[in-house]
Amino acid sequence: MRFELTESQRLVYRAVEEFAARQVRPRAADWDREGRFPHEVIPQLAELGLLGLQVPEEYGGSGLDAVSAAVAVERIAWADGSLALTVASHNSLCTAHILLFGREEQKRRYLPRLARGEALGAWCLTEPHAGSDAAALQTRADRRGDRYVLNGTKAFVTQGSVAGVYVVLARTGGEGPGGITAFVVERGAPGLRVGKKEEKLGLRASDTAEVVFEDVEVPEENRLGAEGEGYAQAMRVLEGGRIGIGAMAVGIGRAALEAAVEYAKTRRAFGQPIAQFQAIQWMLADSAVELDAAWLLVLRAAWLVDQGLPFRKEASMAKLYASEAAHRATDRALQVHGGYGYIREYAVERYYRDVRLCEIGEGTSEIQRLIVAKAILRAT
């Protein structure tokens, strides 16, 4: 048992941290205030290799192990939660779905473009009336000769209005999970329309939009896997994605803790720095302990991926615990800042808003608890 990153994982940590500290962190507050997707950093993300994290080099990606990928997302999140969600969802939802379930020819067609940032990826599972209960989705894909015709509305799609490649889960068969199939749809396909762009509490520089399909024709060659396999594929994709959301939560939580430590050392009350008050110290200590535990859970799940071992339960544990621990850490960090924590000028105000999504996206905390409980009950 070795509790340390390998040499190359440390280099990944440092390379991404340096990029994040110089190019992302100083601009995150502006992007948040403007609620604007930062198109200008996308080429830089691509150049560093952040848009093809686990895509093998033969498809133009970085070929990272899962631990390194988690490290990269954590460091981006430390600088900006919004950009971390962009990186995490592009990589571990859309790109991962094609990587895991695409045929060779599909991988050659899409992965290099995604890794080079020529197209951002979006992944469309959720619908206005089917979130946690994704198997109830209603978007139709009806077969007509050698094509499918898609009709329906997808909700809360990250990169919904900026993506070039969409992976869409739609119903080709009857009710329930067995009737669902995955397709790749490209931007510009006639009938594909961006619907409402969402105004969000946090992660305001991440793009979230409705995506509407009106008689969108998709050639059969764009189907991922066989008919009826879509739901199982999506669940497998989400397992990997949850490690990314866990890493994202830890990154935001750590940024909040660092801000709290800094502030506690400089803010004075009753004749001393507030860091001298035990009440403040306990908050800092609790956050430090919980964020460390969260990070270890995230690394353990990623490590299982790299060993080729099952990781469903562990990914859920990591995502659940990390998102709740990071929520508490940002809450405490805000409290340590007193009134200033409630003010836009201080980054903790943004961390507090940004971190909340981690308890909802890619399966709510309730759903994670269901997955963990199911695994435990089945094992005993």
């Binding site: 990606g61 970085s62 070929g63």
Partner: protein, 262 residues
């Protein structure tokens, strides 16, 4: 052009550096070790020479086992090969000892150009590059801010007080580089993964045919007597004037009477 770059691993000075209580050195607990900034520029310059003129870039480091990470960083930036020299006998070697070891490594490989950083940010000595040139019997220029490779000759620029010195130096030569020479590239993630697969050749003093008594601690002509932390900075004095004019007067008074700089 075959370029050899000598690099050192140093503590990251973005973190606080603490001196051991007994003054015997710095406390290495919890330090982050990184590739010396000046050496990053040397690696970058070597990569640019290779891009323009072809050839190879080999990085060489003398240092304990952890120093391979600095070599790995240089490989991730794009260097072709890496050589790591370590021997327990080198613990406590001085700059001249290290220079002699580097000279022996460089001598054994093709080298049209040898680049070093102007200094290492740990001890700021600026000795190794110059001594290396001496031991190799090669021409040298230190702290160069520009490098152009011609036919068997390099044109380099040094920033000197009030101007720029332009030197023409026959190759092979040893140059130490200033940080203004270029903007180093980030190692990319695919670069890091490629570097992970490259082998770092490790050599001992014996492999190099060197006698520990001549290059190791025993031969050191410089020994550290003691390390002291810099004196604590005293808290600043805060004045709360009634008006800007009064503030200016208080500051002027301070500069005149207390600081005695006016």
């Amino acid at each position: 052009m075959d370029v050899v770059v000598c690099v050192k691993q140093v503590p990251d000075t973005e973190q606080p550096i603490r001196v051991r209580a007994d003054g015997s050195g710095i406390d290495e607990q919890g330090l982050n070790w990184i590739l010396n900034y000046y050496d990053e520029h040397a690696v970058e310059e070597a990569l640019r020479v290779r891009e323009r003129h072809g050839g190879t870039v080999t990085v060489v480091c003398v240092g304990p086992p952890r120093a391979t990470e600095a070599l790995r960083t240089a490989l991730a930036m794009g260097a072709d090969e890496a050589v790591h020299v370590w021997d327990p006998a080198l613990e406590g070697a001085d700059h001249l000892g290290v220079s002699r070891v580097l000279a022996e490594v460089v001598r054994r490989m093709p080298h049209d150009l040898v680049l070093c950083g102007r200094l290492a940010t740990d001890d700021n000595a600026s000795v190794v590059g110059a001594a290396l040139a001496e031991y190799l019997g090669l021409a040298q220029a230190t702290a160069i801010a520009k490098l152009e490779i011609g036919d068997g000759v390099a044109t380099v620029e040094r920033e000197v007080e009030g101007g720029v010195e332009v030197l023409r130096v026959p190759l092979p030569a040893v140059f130490t580089v200033e940080r203004t020479i270029n903007e180093p590239r980030y190692p990319t993630l695919p670069g890091i993964m490629k570097a992970k697969r490259k082998e770092i050749r490790t050599l001992s003093l014996q492999d190099l045919g060197l006698d520990p008594a001549q290059v190791g601690a025993a031969a050191a002509r410089v020994r550290y007597a003691r390390f002291d932390p810099p004196p604590r900075r005293e808290a600043g004095r805060v004045v709360t004037p009634e008006s800007p004019e009064e503030g200016a007067r208080l500051i002027a008074q301070f500069l005149q009477d207390t600081a005695k700089v006016l």
